[in-house]
Amino acid sequence: MRTGSVILFKNGYCYQSYGWNLFRPLGGLQNIVSHLDKYLIDDITIIRPVRDNDSSADFLSDIEELKKLKSSSPISFGGGIRNIDQLHLLSGLPFERFIFSSILFNENNKLLEVATKLYGKQAIVGLIPFKLKPKLSMFNSEINKFVPLDKLNRNHLDFCDEIILYDCEREGFHSGFSKEIIDRFKLDPKSCVFSGGVAELKNSFKNTSYAPKAINIENSVLHREYSILNYYEKL
């Protein structure tokens, strides 16, 4: 089971997000990634936390910034990739996999077809931010609203090699990821990545039916020296 990290990156700067509505500043991207390399983290997930306020200028300037990133760890990138032209801009990035979220609530799957052609099926990752209360719903960032379960386009999920399930309520906490989401979504945990309140749960998942492919820790990855090892040690 991999242990990775989630880094939110917007307008050239990294942030932390708590409870899906409060941002805290974090720091420069290269310094963070260089240290995650040193910490031998399994992989780095960079997400642009854009909702409905993204602009092509912001997208372009972030892409230019990301091109300069130097890292020896596997990186997947996403957040705001919503049309074919943006897909072609990704080829210059030193990343292996790309993350798609809003498209999973959309009808036309042209974007995922072209992405698979360009980067290969193993490079396509889905991201579903969800919350259970008051009722199970998923966040469609393009329209900046939580939508009910039936809005999810099942066959788009088949394009994805892995799916990140991001618990918005438990984001920023060390535990409490609601694993019953797996049954509600009827997904195979083997192809899922848990995120949001998972930092101290790796052991409780091990050799259970819920064991995911990986856990991606948000926010607290840099709270102490080599926090990944501590999570390994605890796990």
Partner: protein, 392 residues
Amino acid sequence: MKNCKYCLYPKSHPFGMAYSDDVCLGCITHKEKYNLDWSERYSFLEEEARKNKKRTKTYDCIVPVIGDAEDYFVVQEVLKLGLNPLIVSVNSYFYNDIGWKNLHNLITHFDLDSWVYNPEIQTYKELIRTSLRKYNHMYLPWIQLHTSFPVHVAKEKSIPLIIWGSNQSVEQVGKFSHKDSVEMSSWSRIEHDLFNKDIFNLIGNGAQVNERKLNYYIYPENLQKLSKKVKGLYLSNYLAWDPLKQNQSIIKHGFVAEENSYSFDPYERAGSSVYYQIHDLLKFERLGYRKITDHCTREIRHGRLSRSEAIEVESQFIQNKINVNPFFNWLDVSKTGREWYINHKLKKSSNLISDSKIEYKHHNFPQKIKSLLVKSSKPNENFITYGKGIEI
């Protein structure tokens, strides 16, 4: 992102700013000081202290100091926890006589073993010139040493714990919650203490220094092994941190406050020949605000200044002129060299520079602030390389 509607911090704060409906995370996180269970926070600290006392033969922890008021408070709290600390200090060569007095009184009053590392002065000055040339920053070489040497000592002497005073990233911009109990790390050092400029960025290929002499400027390697041996804690995550009140409370230990023409706070960094002079000027040149803004923001958040009072206090100091000649003389820079530097590199702050001696003007402050201040002394001699701080 507009500026914060409570405090005076600009968007350009080097630690990075985030806002939640026009209030910056610094102000939001500060509110935790009034609704957190601080006895529970303190019990985590006691637990750390207990764990360490068993494991060590000689010193239970290291306390890096410069001898200013915050260090007195930290040492007082460390002793209250029953720890036997080794005091470690890096000589910046910027001490004035008050600085040596406070440093030597600290180790004598609390009766503690201490190390003072005096870096080879030619390399040190060369790095300061390089730091000025490349980043218009004169404190970077010392901060690199101050945040790296204690960790080397802890690692070599297997002392498992380093205790620092305040975590500036939490106290100033609310980068983490107090509850996150953020610890010392190589990442945080580069991000917050060194503004992304570690020694390798500083020397690049161009600096004419012998790389062999940089061993203590370089943070210890091999972070995986290091993290198992050394842990660095910040007291401000475990105590409701209030610098002005704390600094006043430690006067009884013999600390001498210093007359300060650039802020109402006579405690913070007392004893330095540069902190409120050339360093404050360069901070303004780089970031557009001075140390007085940090102090005013701090006091707004502690409720001792309203925003308008803070702006008025800030205005009393923000125009005060600085004489940078003593620093450039110390750095063996010629008169014309200094003038070139001022004309070409200090354009924004040139109106703040004066050649004449700066006289201390008395200011009046709101009562809530005045009650926490104390009579402060005037330094007689600056840039004392190594001094004798106290007499029999």
